[in-house]
């Protein structure tokens, strides 16, 4: 069975390093499925779940933006922040989403619009990750 080397690193942690049969992630232009032998690709990483199919089950991580580099035998996720999906807290994520939505609707506030929109996208992606994880269980 062919496998591809995967490493997920964020600026303050090495989240995962190992092998996988298939990798699913959200690139800046849409969902990506990465199988071993993929052509070299460089793309942005959108906030969202990164799912790995490994020999012994599945692993899910949450990444909030960064870069993906793909080589035929290797995938590297350079995330700004990344965490194991198990440690995500849904209540926290929903709170963050509400806060971002409020700031977005309240355009007069000091907060700048693009920042609020980015925060909203991140919170939404976080919730999506949690829900996906739950469905898989």
């Amino acid at each position: 069975m062919s496998v591809i080397k995967v490493s997920v690193v964020s600026s303050n942690e090495e989240i995962y390093s190992g092998e996988a049969k298939m990798v699913y992630a959200t690139g800046s232009l849409g969902e990506l499925g990465i199988a071993p032998g993929h052509t070299p690709l460089l793309t942005g990483l959108a906030p969202g779940p990164v799912r790995l199919e490994t020999e012994n089950g599945e692993e899910t991580f949450f990444c909030s933006g960064g870069f993906i580099e793909i080589q035929p035998n290797e995938v590297s996720f350079l995330a700004d922040t990344a965490e194991r999906a198990d440690s995500l807290d849904e209540a926290e994520a929903i709170k963050a989403q509400e806060l971002a939505q409020k700031e977005l609707s309240d355009r007069d506030a000091d907060m700048d619009f693009t920042k609020a929109a980015a925060q909203l996208a991140e919170a939404a992606a976080r919730i999506k990750t949690i829900q996906k994880l739950r469905k898989n269980k």
Partner: protein, 287 residues
């Protein structure tokens, strides 16, 4: 000859200094562990991004980024990583010395230098020495936040973009071990070329999503930020190690000084007693 009271006072003052230095030694020792951990956790990211960057350098990209361009050098920029606080031996001054030497060497070749400074010690030094300072960042603390460095990085990269500087160097202390810290100057821009023939001779390129220019710009900026951040946390680890050693030496020196002074004190005391006795004996003989 000194009197006993004076010597006693001196001993007391050195003892209190010794207490302070040994307390600082212990504080530095405990902080050292934490700063070293911080240095370690940042390493996988900077190693990985370095790997990706080297892949990019070997790809036959349709787009060549300005960071790879070798321009005629008229101006260089040094990003200097120093500490906020002193009392860490020659850590900062050794680094500054090597930078000043490098800047002088550039000057003879007709290259001007400017500086972007991290840490209060660098600001103080280059204020007194002189030199064009383009940006500063200080009071980053023991757990520096990458975001606090973005401003400084942006100033330098924008300067490079607008032809304000042609080369960028990163100057910081490299952590070898607790006893040794090595001042190093590494070239950031232009990014050093890679001469691994096997990789260069194979023709391949990435698919870029979305545009190559945009992606490379983002990634290379991120890379430079990561390198600077890593240098800052490494320098922090160096600071604590150097401080621990400096304070240890200071405590030991204080101990030696106290021993000497105690000897002097006993001598003075004995001399006073002898004198008093001889006075009494002399007085009794006279009667």
């Amino acid at each position: 000859m000194a009197n006993t009271k004076e010597v006693r006072k001196q001993i007391a003052s050195i003892k209190s200094t010794q207490k302070i230095t040994s307390a600082m030694e212990m504080v530095a020792a405990s902080k050292m562990k934490r700063t070293q951990d911080l240095m370690m956790v940042g390493r996988p990211y900077s190693n990985k991004i370095q790997e990706v960057i080297s892949h990019i350098a070997t790809s036959n990209s349709e787009h060549s980024h300005p960071f790879y361009e070798d321009r005629a050098v008229k101006k260089a920029c040094f990003i200097v990583v120093s500490t906020d606080k002193g009392l860490c031996g020659g850590l900062n001054i050794n680094l500054f010395k090597s930078i000043v030497a490098k800047a002088a060497e550039f000057k003879t070749n007709g290259i001007d230098s400017s500086f972007a400074l991290i840490g209060l010690k660098a600001s103080a030094f280059f204020q007194s020495v002189g030199g064009e300072v383009v940006a500063t960042a200080d009071k980053l603390g023991d757990q520096p936040n990458p975001e606090d460095l973005i401003g400084l990085t942006k100033v330098v990269l924008d300067l490079h973009k607008n032809q304000g500087v042609d080369e960028v160097y990163l100057c910081s202390n490299r952590f070898v071990n607790t006893m040794t810290q090595q001042p190093t100057i590494t070239q950031l821009i232009p990014l050093p070329a890679i001469d691994d023939e096997n990789l260069i001779n194979t023709h391949w390129d990435y698919i870029y999503e979305p545009e190559a220019a945009e992606l490379l710009d983002g990634l290379l900026t991120r890379y430079i930020e990561a390198l600077i951040y890593q240098a800052v946390v490494e320098n922090n680890a160096c600071e604590q190690a150097a401080k621990m050693i400096a304070m240890k030496n200071a405590s030991e020196n204080a101990g030696d000084l106290i021993k000497e002074l105690e000897l002097l004190y006993n001598n003075v005391r004995q001399a006073a007693i002898t004198q008093e006795l001889s006075e009494i004996v002399g007085g009794a003989a006279a009667v």
